[in-house]
Symmetry: C2
DNA sequence: GTTACTATTGACACCGGTGACAATATAATT
DNA sequence: AATTATATTGTCACCGGTGTCAATAGTAAC
């Protein structure tokens, strides 16, 4: 205190009224308007909007009040132009499951909204040979504040390198740590798959099959490895013919589901590496006239909507996608402002949701 | 021709080389760089990037070549600041079905990408009392080029008025024309529902029930009306107790599905106003130990993924969501540049997809 | 040859902020 | 009282484009 009355104190309320008066035509106020009304320089107002500590508390309070009063909102384009950045966050994804993408988006938006940033979505095709170049242009031209990457683009090292090169902050969502901790949100798929295995083993199953996910997704390897580890705890190993290669699509699950029926001896349970494929297996059984889980128990992975739409409802491993999105955004925008430990979570552990697609082995 | 050699001709290729030479440190070129190299004013370069007709053909060609050569990309922030607009398109939605939102997004992106715009997503809650104000701020602060609205926000007249007020272009996706033609993409839900009714009637069903969608969605009324019209063609009317009020969620379908079983006399077919609810009905039947479509045929609406995941797969009315997104974006960005008639579609007609959830009435 | 017109280009301020650095005021130190 | 440090604020050029309007150069008309 004590040093806040260099000049005769300003009546901010009166200034606000004056503005309302003079601005009949409804012009949006700019920083200059605020500065004039508050009788300070533009720079000081700028400091207030940017939460600079270099402002006298009383001055800040008054200016902030004036800003609220007349509804001044800084122009992101002008701010960005001057400071060579933007207030946009990008989401680069190439995930085939729409439900995943939406959930992640919602999670990100939960956070981004509060902080005045906006989310620009950017699906891409990792196989396109202009993929890297496109992404580069995207972040460069838009001067993105940062980007969030979902599998499988999150696993692309070329992309990560380009982003580092551009000095663009990024968060990679993936099933294992591929990068510095502050750049990762890790979903512990391996552990989830392990639980799936334990669940089936505890139900007495011994002849257990696996439908693997798309090879280009890290998660597909993690899920398989975790599942095998879990089985190993019970002394179970899968013979080669019980391991089928899917690609995370419903169609692959459908095809492989009917293939499973022809295996001799038939497995009594199967772990599909995601719900879409599990739903496919389920449908294959129905087509074959079976009534799951009688002859075949099924465990999925993800717990997206499909899991509860099908019949019987899928026992599955829940991936908290929205929460993951939230964590990624929090980390990117450094909500919790660097306060040590506060909520620096960057791990999510999936958990088993038991429903109706599994039963005890006879 | 004839007036393109006022000054000694510029060697643009040489200029490009010169830039590559001088710019070892990899600075991004700005409009000033281009202007200097091409020996013209910034304004002329500006005209080229904006496709102004007021540029000599030869000059344009040279400058464009130079731009391509050195990889100049105009800064959207600077452009926006100076011209008081932006290169962002907004998607404002409050639809409960994620698959719909994703499909629409993809459709919009199909178009938006090609034109250098970016898509900013903005889900909202129409019941929030700051909804309108939030939306207003969103388009005002971001100076959005335009926005696309999906049901049910697309049906909100207050919002539309605010947008007109702000001079922001917008496209409303809805099941009936609520606005000037150039601002609408209409999905003819009524006709789709009519087809659903005809389908059931032709299969010999007479005791037919309806599960209506959420009241706050226009489509729910359209679908109901269309369905009733279709039945009327066959002289069928639904008694009151056959008309159930759902809310477009799976859960409501599940609850109402089991309610249907208690109606006496029981209907032999039901039209659920969307696939989610149809899936719910299906599950209710399974829970009750029935094997649809034996005792009850079901028709859904939308043909989103759920329709093919459940068993039996749903007979449904396809809403081409991605195409709708594409049409909306084309219209908004005026792709087809005003050429009369070229592809000014703004209607999509849903069509019946026959699968396994319907059968002949006994 | 002069005038009027069209086509093309340029000059320059400005959009609404921020960065770098200078200036001023107050407090602390000697 | 003079000097130094700290807190607070201001100055001014600049970010990278565009709008407005003037300038210049050919061309057609008189």
């Amino acid at each position: 205190m004590g040093r806040n009355s260099r000049k005769s104190t300003i009546d901010y309320a009166a200034a606000a009224r004056e503005w309302a008066q003079a601005n009949k035509e409804g012009r949006k106020p700019t920083i200059s308007d605020v500065a004039r009304l508050a009788q300070v320089s533009k720079k000081t107002v700028s400091r207030v909007i940017n939460h600079s500590p270099l402002v006298n508390a009383a001055t800040r309070k008054g200016i902030q009040g004036l800003i609220d009063e007349i509804g001044y909102q800084p122009d992101p384009q002008a701010r960005g132009l001057a400071s060579r950045r933007s207030f946009l966050v990008g989401l680069i994804s190439d995930n085939p499951t729409p439900q995943y993408v939406v959930s992640i988006q919602l999670g990100i938006l939960d956070v981004v909204r509060k902080t005045g940033y906006e989310l620009v979505v950017h699906p891409c095709d990792r196989n396109s040979n202009t993929f890297i170049e496109d992404a580069r242009k995207f972040v460069e031209v838009q001067k993105l504040y940062g980007v969030i990457l979902t599998p499988s683009v999150s696993e692309d090292e070329r992309l990560a390198e380009v982003l580092r090169d551009l000095g663009c902050a990024y968060i990679r969502i993936a099933s294992i740590a591929l990068d510095m901790e502050r750049r990762m949100i890790v979903t512990n798929d391996r552990m989830g798959a392990r639980d799936a295995a334990r669940h089936l083993a505890k139900l007495g199953h011994r002849r257990i099959a696996l439908i693997a996910g798309r090879r280009s997704f890290r998660s597909s390897h993690e899920r398989r490895a975790g599942f095998e580890e879990g089985l190993a705890e019970f002394g179970i190993t899968m013979p080669k013919e019980y391991i089928l290669q899917g690609d995370y699509t419903f169609e692959s699950g459908l095809a492989l589901g009917s293939a499973i029926l022809d295996i001799d001896p038939p497995p009594t349970a199967v772990f599909a590496s995601n719900d879409e494929m599990a739903a496919g297996v389920l449908q294959a059984l129905h087509v074959a006239g079976q009534t799951p889980p009688d002859a075949l128990s099924i465990v999925g992975f993800d717990d997206f909507e499909t899991a509860t739409r099908v019949w019987p409802r899928l026992t599955t491993i829940r991936t908290p996608a929205r929460r993951i999105g939230r964590l990624a955004a929090e980390r990117l925008l450094d909500v919790n402002g660097g306060e040590e430990g506060s909520s620096g979570e960057n791990q999510t552990t999936p958990r088993l949701i038991e429903r109706d697609s599994t039963r005890r082995a006879d």
